[in-house]
């Protein structure tokens, strides 16, 4: 495996120096100052890594020179993937929804398995530079296909980016004591600088470091609590069954349905088995169509490495995702320990007293008996991870370290999204349509400037989101719907484009338009305007599950329109053949074709 000596020379001393500095600061100035520097210091560390790994060519900016080894690319993909929502909110959703929250777990992981089968090696063998580039090349050089792909890319990515910055702002405000609106611009500072320094090359190595930080923070804190609860049997992932049984026993005493009861609570506006299955499937289909994940297949040396990299990515993601249900069980168990106690006594519990003013916990003595019933205690999902160190009285540095992990998750995803959008402007629009003769130096400079411009724009949107809770609600909803839009637009185009030669430019364009036209109105009607969900086979289908219908509509329209119009010519047939040819040697597929495809388009 090829290592990057400069990065390792910086990475290890940076992490060690960071840890030593925090403990010195804690000894000299106390935990509060040290906690603040833990957050700020982590960003400085990422900037240092990005600077050392910076790229100066278009090949480095857009493709990380196609030299990232599979394990590193897998870890970077995992960091790219696991956003603030995965880190902070997913365990909370499971704590609140029980079994009905588990589509997030299988939906956001098993998409990678079909990504390895159907997408990653073929995207890599296409030797294109970006996802819109792939769409246009498959559409026989039909420019409108690229433009529509760029529009879809922006719809999917911009709101997602805004939400990441909101998450980063919240982390800043909690640990630096500054308003979240100001914290958003702190995140902008870090993210913009290291994305601008070297594009995907810098981002990849920074994401690798961010993955290490976020996984140690997440799994480390969970393991410490698991020790206190006593569920190492032999590992916590296998040992929390007793905890679930104890929790469900407390729930039955309170007259609640057991936490693991299937199909009891609504997900995406509807409950039921069909909605559960469709939601999970849609999240899988959306995963493989998200541009900032697709693009990670371009940064490996070969198609084989791209396929292997997906395996490592899911391995690294799986470590966090199989820990999230454990977090949910431990948090719910901690909350259930408060039931049946006098409310005054509960309010005096240190961690409850800490989070009551934040609104993450709400207590309402509805029946006025002074005793806390299960229904009188409401908690926000985010407290499950953020509050875990306080719930179990862990050492002072665990809570800020978990926050540093959350910040790493938010920034790593934000970087990927930012770079995908900038590439959409510079490479897919400017270079392709406006100035095909632009020099490499100018294009790189333009990319750096645009990274900063888009960072400011996204930060401003995040600033608005925090100012106006209604806007924040819509942003959060739109992040979930990003998967619906990705599955309704990119996924069928990429899969059919590889496996069905008869697909043509009109099929690609009209399929994407029809998929989006099916998804968007339903999402707006049911998700925003609270219209009742439609039923299939007598069962309601929520906004997320509806994405499967939009995906199917895209497929059908793509096939029908392609069959009714002229097939593509010889060049597209050769392109598809090249994507499908087995990789006989560990170099890009066919030398002549590869060199041709590597030329700037």
């Amino acid at each position: 495996m090829r290592v990057h000596p400069e990065v390792y020379r910086v990475l290890i001393p940076s992490i060690l120096g960071y840890v030593v500095l925090i403990f010195i600061l804690a000894a000299l100035f106390g935990p509060r100052v040290a906690a603040g520097w833990m957050v700020v210091g982590s960003i400085l560390m990422y900037i240092a890594i990005a600077y050392v790994a910076r790229g100066t060519t278009a090949h480095a900016m857009y493709l990380a020179e196609r030299r990232i080894p599979p394990v590193i690319n897998g870890a970077a993909t995992a960091a790219d993937w696991m956003s603030a929502a995965s880190f902070l909110s997913m365990a909370g959703a499971i704590a609140l929804l029980g079994y009905d929250g588990l589509p997030y777990i299988i939906g956001w992981t098993l998409g990678y398995t079909i990504h390895a089968f159907f997408i990653a090696p073929y995207v890599r063998k296409s030797n294109t530079w970006t996802v819109p580039d792939l769409v246009e090349t498959r559409a026989g050089g039909y420019g409108p296909a690229r433009v529509i792909a760029v529009i879809m890319l922006f719809i999917t990515s911009l709101t997602y980016l805004t939400a990441q910055l909101v998450g980063a702002g919240v982390v800043f405000s909690r640990f630096l004591g500054i308003p979240a609106q100001v914290g958003v611009f702190g995140a902008l500072f870090g993210m913009g600088i290291y994305a601008a320094s070297g594009g995907w090359k810098s981002i990849t190595w920074t994401q690798f470091a961010q993955y290490i930080v976020l996984i140690v923070a997440y799994v480390g804190a969970a393991f410490l609590v698991a020790t206190l609860v006593g569920i190492w049997k032999p590992l916590p992932w296998f040992g929390y069954g007793e905890l679930i049984q104890a929790l469900q026993s407390r729930e039955s005493q309170q007259g609640l349905a057991p936490w693991t009861t299937p199909f009891a609570k609504p997900l995406g506006g509807a409950a039921g088995q069909l909605n559960w299955i469709l939601s999970a499937l849609l999240l899988m289909l959306g995963t493989i169509g998200l541009p900032h994940i697709l693009i990670r297949s371009y940064t490996t040396p070969t198609a084989s490495a791209a396929r292997l990299s997906v395996g490592w990515a899911l391995f690294f993601i799986g470590l966090l995702y199989c820990t999230a249900p454990m977090y949910a069980a431990m948090a719910r168990y901690a909350f259930s320990g408060l039931w049946g106690r006098p409310i005054a006594e509960v309010q005096a519990v240190p961690w409850v007293a800490k989070f009551l003013p934040t609104g993450l916990i709400r207590i309402n003595d509805a029946n006025g008996d002074g005793i806390l019933q299960a229904a009188e205690l409401v908690f926000h999902g985010d407290i499950v991870v953020i509050g875990m160190p306080d719930m179990w009285n862990l050492a002072w540095w665990i809570a800020p370290f978990v926050a540093v992990g959350g910040l790493a998750a938010a920034l790593s995803t934000a970087d990927g999204l930012l770079m995908v959008m900038v590439t959409g402007i510079t490479r897919d629009i400017y270079h392709r349509f406006i100035n095909p003769n632009v020099s490499e130096e100018t294009e790189v400079r333009m990319t750096r400037v645009l990274v900063m411009v888009l960072s400011v724009a996204a930060s401003f949107l995040a600033f608005l989101a925090i100012q106006d809770p209604r806007f924040a609600l819509y942003v959060a909803l739109l992040v979930g719907w990003a998967f619906v839009f990705a599955a309704a637009s990119f996924t069928p185009a990429v899969v059919l484009g590889t496996f069905w030669k008869r697909l043509n430019r009109y099929g690609i364009v009209w399929g994407m338009v029809a998929g989006m036209a099916t998804a968007l109105p339903y999402v707006l009607a049911v998700g925003v305007f609270q219209a009742p969900p439609l039923s299939l086979f007598g069962q309601p289908v929520g906004t997320i599950g509806w994405g499967c219908i939009a995906f199917a509509v895209n497929l059908v329209v793509s096939v029908v329109v392609s069959l009714l119009t002229q097939p593509e010519g010889e060049a597209v047939m050769r392109f598809v053949d090249r994507m499908r040819l087995p990789e006989l040697v560990r170099v890009p597929a066919v030398a002549g074709a590869s060199q041709e495809a590597e030329e700037p388009r």
Partner: protein, 97 residues
């Protein structure tokens, strides 16, 4: 090969979750862990990881066999494929990179 793996994937992604409310619900394992919960919260994820690595291993073997066959039938290969193989150091007399 890919179709076979895809069918296996549908089992871990869809089929074995369908009996959850009925058949699996009362089944406990690993110290009282409900099976229907554990299938979705743990087993599916790692089955998915395992499936990718096995698929990669199988496909790499297939590619190795194809390369061996290509080197055997060197004279019948198209010129651009020969060029690609030569560039990578894979010729009838040379070793693969």
């Amino acid at each position: 090969m890919t179709a076979v793996f895809f069918v296996l994937w549908t089992v871990i992604a869809v089929w074995w979750h369908i009996p959850a409310p009925h058949a699996w619900r009362g089944v406990l394992l690993f110290g009282n862990m409900p099976l229907h919960w554990y299938l979705a919260a743990f087993i599916s994820i790692w089955a998915g990881v395992l499936m990718i690595f096995v698929y990669h291993w199988v496909m790499s073997r297939v590619e190795g066999e194809l390369l061996a066959r290509a080197l055997q039938d060197w004279d019948q290969l198209p010129e651009d494929v020969k060029l690609s193989l030569r560039l990578a150091g894979a010729t009838p007399s040379g070793a693969q990179h």
